[in-house]
Structures are given as C-alpha cells and as structure tokens.
C-alpha cells in the first residue's frame, strides 16, 4: 500500500464507477483472471487425473467390480487381480510411519519454535530443509544398508523375545518388511512435520504466550496448553502432508518392504504397497487386463488418500468444535 501512486490515490473516490476497460488497464481484472486460472488448474488436474484413472481401468472394474478391494490374489499368469494385500500394506506402513514421526516431529518443532535460542533454531531448520530435499532413493539406500541389518540383529530380537506371543511381533524377520518400511517412511516425513509445525508455532501471536505467563503458568504450560492448541490446525496440516507423502512413496518403500503381496498381522513380515507394485510391474505388464488392474490400483490409492484425508479433516472439525464449546462456557 505504501507504494501507491499519488495520482491513483486521488482517483480513489471514483473507483466504484470505473469502467471495465479502465479496471482492465489497471490490471485488477487481469490479475484476477490469471490467478483464478491458476487456482482452477488444481481442480482441473485432479479431475483429469481421476478421469484418466477411471477410463484406463475400465476392464478391471468391469471384470472384478468391488471384489477388487477384497481379493487377496495377484496373479499375472491367470489374470486374477486383487488389491487387498496392497491396500493393507499401504495403510500399515503409513500408520507405522505416522506413529513414529508424529510425536518425534511435533516434539522437535516445539523445541525449535518455543524453547531453543533463535540461532540454534535457524541452523537446525536449515538442516531439516536439507533433509526434506533428499531424494527418496537415498533414504531407500539408508534403509537397505543400515535399518535392514539393524532390524535383523537388534530391533527384531528386542521385540520378538519379550512380546513374541503377540501376533504383531510373531514370526521370523528377514530384515525387510512393514516395520522397516515404516521406519524409513518416518525418517522421510519427519522433516515435513517439523518444518511446517515450526512455522505455525512461530506464527502464534506473542500476546497468547504473555497472557498465559501473566496468569501464572510456567513456560511449558504456556507452550503445551496455549500455544500448541492455538496452532493445532496448522500442525494437523503438517501431518496430512506427511501422510500424503507416506501413502504415495514408491522407491524407498520398494527397496525395504520385501515386495510380497501377503497379509500378515506381524510387523516383521514382508509386504507390498500400492505405489510399490505399480512401479515394479508397470513396464512389463503386457496384457490389457494386467495393465488396467495396475491403473485400477492407482485409482484405489487415490480413493485411499481421499478417504484418509477426509477422515483426518473430520477429526479436526470435531475436536476444534469441542474446544471452542468449552471456551464459551
């Protein structure tokens, strides 16, 4: 506003009656149109994506219908395809990843935003941004060379010996599997959670903190009871971003999950995910039904992302309403 041309300011009172042409000349309409096009392209791309996935999976949808979701077999030889093991693997690895990454990421972002000195916070942020930019194949290699051996020699014995009677920790470990993939995914998504959550926490108004402190709360109480709830929506946003990345990750997962389309309760057993099987089999998929079933898997992944995002959003709406209700009492 400070750089407004004085002649334009003079013209202020007649703004309402300006003709379309003059508004066009001033750029308002053009800017509106262009930014609208940009915004519309997001919707357009999504619609186009769904349309492509829908039409290119027609054969698979006709042949398998809703059974596609509950069939456990994936056999390119007999042309029998089912998505269940892949849906299971995708949800399982993403859930493990978020279970690990959410507490760690939010904890780190609270430290960086509220407790650490600014210089430490900014330096660490630089490294976190760097981590977010590392290609996923590098994380995959990290998984193969460090986490896989660690899983077999340290983590598996530590969990299997005391808790082996639980189905979750039963069975042998090959090093690769759901837990390994979950850990690699967690490492990958933590930078997203920290980065976004830190920004959100930093943008909480200063008076919120001061008010809490003035009322006699300790530093931690003001952080945990005032600042974090204030930033809750933004923090949830960072978790969505993390979830989206975890659901769709391909390369790093395929390197450490074992690529076995089986369903097992044990987090040590090998599995497969939707993104991973598409990447693995797409190039050599020769039959039409085979190819269309893979595209169908893409559609399932889209649906899955849609549903999980919707559920998470619903959760926010419910929890924030409860919070504000309490505040009004």
């Amino acid at each position: 506003m400070a750089i407004v041309n004085p002649t334009m300011q003079d013209a202020g009172p007649v703004v309402a009656s300006r003709s379309f042409l003059s508004r066009l000349r001033d750029g308002d309409e053009i800017a509106r149109l262009i930014t609208f096009l940009f915004a519309a392209s997001v919707v357009l791309i999504t619609v186009l994506l769904v349309f492509e996935l829908w039409t290119n999976s027609a054969l698979a949808r006709q042949k398998f219908g809703l059974h596609f979701f509950v069939t456990r077999v994936w056999d390119p030889v007999t042309d029998e395809y089912g998505a269940l093991p892949f849906i299971f693997g995708t949800v399982m690895t993403s859930a493990i990843a978020l279970l690990i990454a959410v507490p760690l990421g939010i904890g780190a972002s609270i430290f960086l935003a509220e407790l650490a000195p600014a210089r430490v916070s900014d330096t660490l942020q630089f490294f976190i941004d760097l981590l977010a930019a590392v290609p996923s194949v590098i994380y995959g290699l990290l998984g193969v060379f460090i986490i896989v051996p660690l899983m077999r020699t340290v983590i598996y014995p530590a969990l299997n010996k005391p808790f082996g009677y639980l189905p979750m920790f039963k069975g042998p470990s090959y090093g690769v599997g759901f837990l390994t993939a979950g850990i690699v995914l967690a490492i990958m998504v933590i930078p997203y959670i920290i980065s976004v959550s830190r920004e959100v926490l930093l943008s909480v108004p200063r008076d919120q903190r001061e008010a809490a402190l003035a009322l006699g709360s300790t530093r931690w109480e003001s952080t945990w009871k005032v600042v974090v709830p204030f930033a809750k929506t933004g923090i949830m946003g960072s978790i969505f971003l993390a979830l989206a990345r975890a659901l769709g990750e391909t390369m790093a997962v395929t390197m450490v999950i074992g690529n076995t389309p089986k369903i097992s309760a044990s987090i040590f057993s090998p599995g497969d995910t939707i993104a991973s099987v598409i990447a693995n089999q797409f190039t050599e998929a020769t039959g039409d039904l085979y190819l269309q079933s893979l595209v169908g898997l893409g559609l399932v992944l889209f649906l899955l992302t849609f549903i999980l995002n919707g559920m998470a959003r619903l959760l926010i709406v419910v929890t924030t309403q409860k919070g504000s209700g309490k505040g009004n009492q």
């Binding site: 007999t78 051996p149 690529n259 497969d272 089999q281 190039t283 050599e284 998929a285």
Partner: protein
Amino acid sequence: MKRTALLLTAVLALAAIVWAENPLLINGAGATFPYPIYSKWFDVYHQKNGNIQFNYQSVGSGAGIKQVTEGTVDFGATDGPMNDDQLKAFQDKRGSAILHFPTVLGAVVPTYNVPGVTGALNFTPEALAGVFLGKITKWNDPAIAGVNKGVNLPAEDIVVVHRSDGSGTTYVWTDYLSKVSEEWNSKVKKSTSVNWPVGLGGKGNEGVTGLIKQTPDSIGYVELIYAVQNNVPYGSVKNSSGNFIKADLASVSAAAAGTTKDMPEDFRVSITNAPGKTSYPISSFTWLLIPTKFQDAGKRDAIKGFLKWMLTDGQGYAEPLSYAKLPKEVVERELKAIGKVQ
C-alpha cells in the same frame, strides 16, 4: 566477448554438422537385458553408416511389444517371445506380421548366501523347483545335500528371493521351472512376473543381489552377465544329460546349438532345459521384433542392412560384453529370414 563468439561459432558448426548429415532416424524400444550390446551395435553401425541412426529405449520387453504393436516405434525387442495372442493383436492392428530375430544369448543363474559355504553349489532341477515352491525349506535337505557331498550345509531355513519387477529374467527362470516341474507348471506357470508361492522380492538384479547379500541362508536368481560383472557367486545346474554345468558363454551357446534342429520357422523357441552334454539349462535367446512391412523404404533397407551386419560382423562384439554368440546354424537361418521383411 571473445568467448561468446567462440561458443557461438562452435554451436553453429555443430548445428551445421547435424544439419548436413540429417540422418535417417530409426526408433526402437524394448528389453533392458540386451541394452549394453544393442547400444554398442547401434553406435558402431552409426559410425560405419553415418546416415543411419538408431535410437533405442530400454523400457522393458512388455513395453517394447506394446509400442511396436501401437506403431510408435519402428522395431521392438523382447526377452520372452511374443505369444499367439500378441501376434494376432499385431496382425489385427497393423495388417502385417512381425518377425522374431534372435540377436544374442543370455542365461539366468542361481545365486545364494549360505554362511560357511564358499565353493559353487550344485543344484538339481528338482531342488530348485522344490525350494521355489516352498516344499524344500532347509539347506541340509537331502535334495540339496545329496548332490553337494563334502559341503557342510546348515540346518537353517531357506530364504527365497525373487524379482519384484516384471522381467525377462523371471520369464526365463519360470520357463525353466515349468519345464522341469509338473507342479510348478500347474501351480505357478511362466511369465515376466508370477504369483510366487514363497519368498521376498527385490527390484532389479541389483535388488535381488542386495537382499541375498544381506540375508543369511538365502537363494535367488540373477542374469549371468550381472553375476559375472559384479562377482556374484553362483551355482551349477544339472542339465538334461545329467551333467552339472556352470553357466559361461560356451555352455550357453551350446544350449542354443542343441536346439537348432527343432527350431521353428519363426525362431520363437525356448531353449531352457536344452539337450546337449555341455548345455547350460537356464539359457535364452533375446529377440528383435521386426515388422514384415515398412511404409518407408529407406527405413526398411536400413533395418535389413543392420540385421545382416548384426548377424555377421556384429556378433564379434557380443563376447567382450559377456553375451553368448548365436550358433552358426541359427545365423544362417536368420540371414535367410531377412528376406521376409518387405
């Protein structure tokens, strides 16, 4: 300023060269396994015939068949022959036939990681099928230990590793297992990717090798060339004459020579479990897919010229790159088949 002028001159000169040559560009796509030899061939052939340039994308056999059928490339390449449905699809879509030309040979070898075992292990077809079916689960099972006298095999569970991506290597491996095991042939069958009864999947030869190196008591399969170039230990396999053969260029060529008598007109032949005393049983051709009719006479002549060169002088480039050469009989029959391209 001087540098800019120099750069501009260089760019212009380069453009002039490219412009002047204006080479005939021939596009192909397909198998990844023969990519090193194909790119060598196309490069050498371009140097000899400056006006012809081949552009080959190693996108996988399946994609190669698809693209040549769609007509987006001039020729295809595959590790597993096209089946009758695919041939019919090509005929329907393009109104002409497509020919298979074997180019070189490859092999698939069993590789393993058994702590305490350093030498090459022997495998019978029954043992390999049993292990990959999940019927043989211990390393000291008589089926394995019986043919490896003197080797101290542990009583540990066998971890099976296979390819997770669709691949010609898997095609050759499962083709072999289908031939030697009734049960495999009825339960799993052969394809570029199958519904594996047991085991972990690794992406690519390097993924399988990586998993095997990291997992004690594991067994898997990789391409011979990959095993040779990366010093991956691999075992011998009992052939149809009852000899244990370790894969090398000679034993792979021998497998091809062993099948020439019954080779069909169209070269679509599997040479796994081939007859012959010295034949390595898990060998395979890799094929170029050439349409019989070309719209463009220039392209047709260029491809025919290349095929002729590839089958004669070109074969000399195969062995340095660890590919087995075609046997003489096959070359002669292929040279005759070039005439079918019109």
